[in-house]
Assembly symmetry: C2
Homo-oligomer: 481 residues x 2
């Protein structure tokens, strides 16, 4: 087979297929036998076909969700998850598998329960938002004042709020994209500060959630220096709707809530990293990531077990592809996305010297829905190469990549170095029914759907890692928080 000596190590001749395609020397090291683009496209299409039939990400989710379970930042299970990820990467056969130390906060949830006292006694279903201070011994008892939005809270008088628990009742819209969540989630992060500024003694929010299952949804919230730190919790949607009915009927609503948690000393854990080293441009990094941590209520199957599985199965497919990548595919399973992006920050800092060589970064952190679009945030001339790189996705139901600023949260710190980003948009129509609740469990995964999303993710990552396109640099932006 002529040209075989030029093939990179790991390339397996596919003689029959090569003959079928009319290429005598298929598939040796590609730059050396055929023009780059045609050849790369062919290789990517072959990869896509293989991935379509082979991609099996769901067992990774099952193994992580069942076998490790909830793995919040700083927890013992966080360490188990690191060991789990190292083992999986080694089993796949990745190169340079390693832990990169990350220091994470360690907040632990306390007992939580709440009771409606007026107008009629009844249990309420709540959960503390992540990082909330604890309510006083015996619970926090106060009247409730409802506002529809954070803006509305900003405009009412302190007299109406002082000494009360503020209830921010903002429903979340169900959307396929991230739009519903993007609009609703600021309530969760900002309610405590906004309420405290008006003199409130506590803040409760309608869960940032689609649907009306009686699960409260936890998630990150923040405090500000010089603003009183008041306890903050999410009500399950049915309970929020009930309070709203009472308040709309002009009834006095009074509750007692026990919620919050304690901050323990920081813990050192790790980002878990493994690579398929590029054959031609090993210093060029195509980063694919997901986050290994989860919230504490469920088993983190969707958030972000699904993303972890997409990354590991992508790595598996690419590590065993007929043609190895030209650029280095680097898989990063980040520590603590949920509670402050510790892993993303640590990665950007410790790799600051090579971020200029990160040609693209992608994170899978939007559940287990089907992929319907690829978007990118890159240099001004990136549209054309992105179109070429995404063209092979068409048979998977995904059109040419479109410009869009969205990307995984762990990638934020890399924007300071202008690293180009891409995002495989997944259908999130039902994701926020489960997200950050006890109901985020493995049974919510539909394996064929997750396999489709993985195939899109993997094929696009493969296309980029096989290419030598310059995607330019994304506009530099500092982490806004």
């Amino acid at each position: 087979m002529s040209g075989a000596t030029h093939c990179p190590k790991g390339v397996r001749p596919l003689t029959a297929l090569a003959a079928l395609l009319g290429c005598a020397s298929f598939p040796p090291a590609l730059a050396s036998c055929t023009p780059l683009r045609a050849d790369a496209t062919t290789g990517v299409e072959l990869f896509r076909e293989s991935a379509t039939s082979k991609a099996a990400p769901a067992p990774y989710v099952q193994d992580l969700a069942d076998g490790v379970g909830p793995r919040p930042a700083g927890s013992e299970n966080g360490h188990k998850a690191v060991a789990w990820a190292l083992d999986k990467m080694k089993t796949i056969g990745l190169q340079n598998v390693r832990e990169e130390p990350v220091t994470v906060p360690h907040w632990v949830r306390g007992d939580e329960h709440a009771e409606l006292l007026l107008p009629e006694p009844q249990k309420l279903v709540i959960t503390a938002l992540g990082g909330s201070v604890e309510t006083p011994e015996g619970g926090l008892e106060a009247d409730v004042v409802e506002v529809a939005t954070l803006d509305a809270l900003g405009s009412i008088s302190e007299d109406e709020v002082r000494g009360k628990i503020v209830f921010v009742n903002t429903p979340m819209e169900r959307t396929r994209s991230d739009e519903g969540y993007s609009r609703a989630s600021p309530v969760r992060s900002g309610a405590a500060v906004a309420a405290a500024k008006k003199g409130a003694v506590g803040a409760i929010i309608r869960s940032v959630a689609t649907g009306n299952a009686r699960f409260p949804h936890t998630g990150y919230m923040h405090y500000e220096d010089n603003v009183a730190k008041i306890p903050a919790a999410a009500l399950a949607v049915p309970d929020a709707m009930m309070l709203d009915r009472f308040i709309k009927a002009k009834k006095q609503v009074r509750i007692r809530m026990t919620a919050g948690g304690k901050s323990l000393p920081e813990v050192t854990t790790a980002n878990v990293v493994g690579e398929v080293v590029g054959q031609e441009k090993p210093g060029d990094v195509v980063l694919i990531g997901a986050h290994l941590d989860s919230w504490d209520l469920g088993t983190g199957a969707l958030d972000d077990g699904a993303g972890v599985a997409m990354v590991l199965e992508t790595a598996n497919l690419i590590a065993h592809a007929a043609e190895r990548p030209r650029r280095t595919l680097r898989c990063v399973l980040f520590a603590n996305e949920e509670f402050g992006l510790s892993g993303g920050r640590a990665y950007a800092e410790s790799h600051s010297g090579e971020l200029a060589n990160h040609v693209l970064a992608m994170e899978a952190d939007f559940g287990a829905g089907g992929a319907y679009e690829v978007s990118f945030l890159a240099g001004p001339a990136a549209a054309k190469p992105m179109a070429e790189l995404s063209a092979p996705l068409s048979p998977l139901g995904v059109g040419l990549a479109v410009p869009n600023e969205r990307h995984g949260a762990d990638l934020w710190p890399m924007r300071g170095a202008g690293v180009p980003m891409a995002e495989v948009a997944q259908d999130a129509s039902t994701y926020f029914d489960y997200h950050h609740t006890a109901d985020d469990t493995y049974d919510k995964i539909d394996p064929p759907t997750l396999a489709q999303a993985t195939t899109v993710f993997a094929t696009f990552a493969y296309a980029v890692s096989r290419s030598v396109h310059d995607l330019g640099r994304a506009p530099v932006k500092k982490l806004p928080f």
Copy 2:
């Protein structure tokens, strides 16, 4: 208006409508101006049209679920529910509104939590079945042995079960009718006895539930004399599926569970009864019922707030109908259906002398779904009158009544007296996603759908109470438990 003097009290002349229908003397006392059947049909059709536009049952559900909340047998809220029901019946203007004393058991749930210990530690979501004894101090810890069905449990050896916790993992089929529930619920009632007979120390079941939301479903279970009373609990479906995955993978599964409850002294509460007394045959009783109690986990909006609302709104519509019933419509809101049919038993006993005059009994206790069928269990010659009585339901999407043995549980004790039964079958496709869980809350009600079911229920009850048909007697059957 000729014939007006023959109109029963309460009948309001509808002159314009009468003219439109070409009936000079419409609507006087019907037997006295036109042949019964045509006349009754016309009256029922007018009632149906009025009910279609006026029926508004949902506010009753909201008021009961939000304002009283969970109301299990023997609870303080049970008394509040009785007061609530008396008030509603009086407000409607029912006659003979009264409490009829019922003694009910009083079981109270204790703390409940469970942990998977092997193969990997993780929380499990469980709830005690109603009536379960308590686990020992510190919880019950044992290996788990899984069986697919109660039959399978019957056929395995005691050696495989002794000292273990039996896990009965029978999935429930989603059906529009009661079929799925009828097939699955014996697991709940019978698992503890079947497991104890084999030497098990505890029993857990996959929740009798459709869907896979992480709510455990409680419900009635029983013990037998001379069989050890072991604790029994339901696992949420996701947790049951996880145990099954571990066991199928040949992993040792060991759990620790804290669950069960205490039986307190019996409590005297009441069935709440009110009537629209028949104009012509006041001794003939058409009974419509629902149960006032609920399980303790949710607010009992679907089970059986919806049924209570259907009965109250039916009473409201009939009490204010243009033509009053010939027979007495008796509304009974039963105490304690869930935990042993106390109210149904007490009613049958205290009214034994007049059950021969109960021409029909109907109970609404199958959620808030749309009505799609009416069925009956009556005498051998009942098909023809049932067809006549149900013919006006056609515009509501319900065909002629069909024979079927199903009926509400509270009516069981009346079968000993051969009381004919009817059932308005409601679509239960999603009912068992919520049934007996914390998620049975008011937001699960779709008011127009519940109004349709109520209109069917009310129109049929009205047709029977307006008629003088003899529906015969149903085959006598003794309460099987």
